[in-house]
Amino acid sequence: MKEFLLDAPLTRDFFTYLGYFGQVEALPNVGDGFYKFEKQEWFMIKGFLGDTTIEVRFRKEVMDFTTDFLYFLLASYREGTMDLSVLKQRERSVGERVRKHLHGV
């Protein structure tokens, strides 16, 4: 588990953006809004709207591959350079490595 300190408070838009890459669930009435993003076999992100920290739990076996992708996701959102086609291409590339490492295919 790692905790990331963000430049700006978490927003609903951030998790909507993450939703392109995995599953987002929310309990909007818990605290200031509890959000959870899960990308199966990669990592899980948890946080509260308005908070500047997120907790990330990586799948340990493939953490070397997926950490970079997480940084890329965060940086793209922060800089507003969210070219989904580029992000998706990178996701596919990392996904192949993850599958091969975990399942051998």
């Binding site: 939703g19 599953q23 987002v24 929310a26 309990l27 909007p28 818990v30 605290g31 959870k36």
Partner: protein
């Protein structure tokens, strides 16, 4: 009513919890893992123990300072009613004790050896026994439980001609249920079977009289309800000859001999002791004696009952056991994972709990299919206000648990 028994006057309303300012200090509800805070006298004892070179007979020419090892042994022996003091052995923790006892008991027993344990037990018991089973050194039977309890009749029914040993928990670290070791021990002894009891969760929470309990070895840890610090634990051993030592080394005594001394406690203790830890453990036990273990148990019972009553008000909170004997409350909330509940409690309410399997996988296989649960565990230092706030927080989460949405 005393100051620790007036819950309703605090005016905690579960509808208001989120808008209230959480207490300024962390609310710590993970005492079954490691107790916190420690009594000030424990912190003082650690500081004091390190203020002079350590003193131990045979290990220094110095005469300054206290003999913390002997002091702790005497204090523990009296507290547990486990005489003589030399039969109290110090180790690193309960897991260390269990490994020494199980391995030592089995080491000189050859041939078919059947061992009993329970599904309530912690991995500190289950893993050593399963490893020995995998090595074909024992045959193992894991006994079931019902409503938190292992039925003594089930124990008796499981006994075979080759049954030599039973290792079992005294108090479940998940369900908070205290087992009837008096009845179980009597049954086992009637069949000549050795009983090792894991008291990691009971020592310091309930009165114990090991002289009258039919147990052959009783394991304790220092850093939970005894208010010591991590790195201390031990066991009481009724008959030292019943267990073969499996750890050897310097004792500061009989040093010309190249073999481990046979006397107690040197038979089982080798190497330099954890002097600060044992000073802390002695101080922690003395603190309990000053307060009174009956007083501690009474408050824990009251607070636990209140917390359970509060959680039962929400239909989507499922308690794993609704009448624990120890201040351990385990639950799940429908519609939200136990890990998420723990995260929310910590981040939104400042409440430290524990989630997951609690190192007791067989309990969870039975009560929640192995998905785990949220555990709240109290100590003497848990205030009524903290209990009320925690109850309100959990209820508030439960009220909103079914509102899960997937943002588009």
């Amino acid at each position: 009513m005393g100051k620790h028994s007036i819950f309703h006057s605090y005016g905690y309303d579960h509808q208001r919890t989120r808008t209230m300012n959480p207490p300024t200090r962390m609310i710590y509800m993970n005492n079954a893992a490691t107790s916190w805070p420690k009594p000030p006298v424990v912190l003082d004892a650690v500081r004091q123990s390190l203020s002079l070179p350590v003193f131990g007979s045979g290990r220094t020419t110095g005469s300054q300072g206290d003999d913390y090892v002997t002091m702790a042994r005497d204090v523990l022996s009296r507290f547990l009613h486990a005489g003589p003091p030399e039969h109290v052995i110090f180790t690193q923790n309960a897991t260390d004790s269990l490994n020494l006892l199980i391995q030592g008991f089995l080491s000189e027993r050859e041939g078919d050896c059947h061992v009993l344990t329970t599904a309530l037990d912690h991995n500190s018991v289950l893993r050593p026994l399963h490893e020995y089973e995998r090595q074909h050194r024992i045959r193992l039977t894991v006994l079931p439980f019902r409503e938190g309890m292992v039925n003594p009749d089930t124990v008796e029914a499981a006994i075979q001609p080759a049954t030599r040993l039973m290792v079992m928990t005294h108090g479940s670290n998940v369900l908070g249920s205290v087992q009837n070791i008096r009845r179980i021990g009597t049954i086992l002894h009637d069949h000549g079977i050795y009983l090792i009891v894991d008291g990691a969760q009971t020592a310091g929470h309930i009165p114990l009289d090991l002289e009258t309990l039919p147990v052959d070895a009783y394991v304790f840890t220092g850093h939970k309800a005894l208010f010591g610090i991590p790195g201390t634990g031990g066991f009481y051993l009724r008959n030292p000859a019943s267990v073969t030592p499996v750890r050897f080394g310097g004792t500061g005594t009989d040093s010309f001999s190249l073999f481990q001394p046979t006397g107690m406690p040197e038979r089982f203790e080798a190497g330099t002791h954890n002097y600060p830890g044992l000073a802390a453990l002695a101080a922690g036990v003395r603190y309990i004696q000053t307060v009174g273990i009956d007083t501690i148990a009474a408050r824990a019972k009251h607070q636990t009952a209140f917390l359970i009553h509060e959680l039962q008000q929400e239909s989507n909170i499922f308690l794993s056991h609704d009448h624990p004997d120890l201040p351990i409350i385990t639950f799940n909330i429908r519609g939200i994972g136990n890990d998420d509940v723990g995260f929310i409690l910590a981040r939104a309410y400042g409440i430290t709990a524990r989630t997951g399997l609690h190192c007791a996988p067989l309990v969870h296989r039975e009560i929640d299919g192995g998905s785990g649960s949220v555990r709240l565990s109290l100590s003497w230092f848990t205030t009524d206000e903290e209990v009320a706030y925690t109850a309100s927080a959990v209820r508030e989460i439960a009220k909103n648990a079914d509102s899960s949405v997937r943002p588009s």
